[in-house]
Amino acid sequence: MNAPNTSGWKPEMTAADGMHSGPATTTGNRALMLEEPLLFEIGRTDVTGVDLPAVDASAPTRLGGLARSNAIGLVGLTEPETVRHYTRLSRQNYGIDLGFFPLGSCTMKHNPRLNEKVARLPGFADIHPLAPQNAVQGALEVISQLGEWLCKLTGMPAVAMSPKAGAHGELCGILAIRAAHEARGDAREVVLVPESAHGTNPATAAFANYRVEDIPATPEGRVDVAALKARLGPDVAAVMITNPNTCGLFEKDFREIADAVHAAGGYVYCDGANFNAIVGRVRPGDLGVDAMHINLHKTFSTPHGGGGPGSGPVVFSEALAPFAPLPFVRQDEGGTFYLVEEENRAERGPSFGRMTAFHGQMGMFTRALTYMLSHGADGLKQVAEDAVLNANYILRSMEDILHAPFAASGPCMHEALFGDKDFTEGLTTLDVAKGLIDEGYHPMTVYFPLVVHGAMLVEPTETESKAAIDQFITAFRAVVERALAGDQGLKQAPYYAPRRRLDETAAARKPKLAFEG
């Protein structure tokens, strides 16, 4: 065990231990720990950070009756005040660049700085989606090459690059499935979603106007294959399965499920959000998947806050490929890249249409391709192996004191799932999460998946060192032992965050959505 805390300070230390001794400050600040009020509290209506020329009142206006007649009271700040406001707030934030971020199902891996360097190259960063195609051949080649990597890694023949994030990718896949059924005049109404799937899956199917039916999970945490097969029929359009699933387990009967779905005339959608655990090891195309989204912003770095939006390209089987959305990048015989869009009737085929105004998240494309090229095929395989190893290390390091409902189902994949079964004296998963904040960690995913009571879903990713994971395990065990012992002090956590425990109930029941001076 390394010694991360050389100062000897411990969270349970109080003022008597010297931690917070000293007089109260006039400002409420504590040296570098700065309090920051709201913009509305520090701004003034008579201040502005920009120096605009005086308005010529006699100048003609085109606003007509729409011109504003009353001031709306928006406050202004000077530029340095504005910069300080946001910089101070950013110091109260927790991000992957600050510490271990075990948020299950989110793959909060390190974002290599090389990605950022490439994404900022002017040839990628400063181009416009309406630029002439012959002026942005490099950008189109990036989209094309990234798509080829995704097809190769998944063993699927086609890819749609435009979906903007995971759930958008799900919608893309389900719309292609709908288009394929409708093209042969087959009106199907039901999408089956197992309990071990991501929560966005049923929402996507409902949004695409399908009726959603649940398929139960087995006690081992996998899809109940018999129940799924029994439900298949001519009304079932598709099955949406998350693999590896949200219990952190590989759906080992996937091929059998896919064959049964295909035999019943349905399609198989796979939620690929957890692809990190199997990239380079398993090709979803070999499992019978018809459509799967890939979260570029998880599997290929740049997680939440890693420099911008998400990106959720969707790979398709031969059966669904013709229905993929516009636009797509192709290369002509002379090697020139071009976009197939609405005007190109010959090449667009039965595409179901367009999901985005332009071609996709270019900034994510450059980062993901940089990540792939810098890791290489062997490196991507090692990513999956190390991610799985790290998760299993946490699972086996905790299972002696923390309920691990699927520990007997074999190795977990990228994430370890625990429950609150043995906590005493009214202590809950929420208390453990808050206790981890005091220990300096972003909490794990809590209360999801629903199949486990008081779920705690921990995903370390491959980018954490053994030392960092050992340190987390030490802290996690300490907090869990307090919950097992019924330590009522944990109910008050966090003690050391910029704010103490917030009233989530009041915030949801009576949200204040406007500033009231």
Partner: protein, 122 residues
């Protein structure tokens, strides 16, 4: 007569109308309720299918219809004050009233003693 389902709904039968809510055990598991989505009056509900949605600080859950029927009335008080489900789950925190399309379906449900044993076994 009050019956219970293994999905933790209760149903009170009064003549040919039944009142449906969730049990004290269910509200305890869900935690603080922040939102309740009720079916529209006139909706035909089907035994075992979604009839309402209840959202707590932890999760959103479906509430299933214990029997077939048609919704005749909903508890409008829950829109303003979803906390009623926490404070009085088996009283003022009721969800909706339905007609009883098939009284035979009540026979498969639990009585209070059987439900108590069921919860104790969880």
């Amino acid at each position: 007569m009050r019956y219970f389902t293994d999905e933790h709904e209760w149903i009170d039968v009064d003549g040919d109308v039944a009142t449906v809510g969730i049990t004290d055990y269910a509200q305890g598991q869900l935690g603080d309720i922040v939102f309740v989505e009720l079916p529209a009056v006139g909706t035909k509900v089907e035994k075992g299918k979604d009839a309402a949605v209840v959202e707590s600080v932890k999760a959103a859950s479906d509430v299933y219809a214990p029997i077939d029927g048609e919704v005749t009335e909903t508890n409008g008080a829950l829109e303003e004050d979803p906390a009623l489900v926490n404070t009085a789950p088996e009283g003022e925190g009721w969800f909706f009233r339905i007609t009883i399309a098939n009284a035979g379906q009540l026979e498969g449900l639990m009585d209070e003693a059987a439900y108590k044993d069921f919860v104790a076994s969880l």
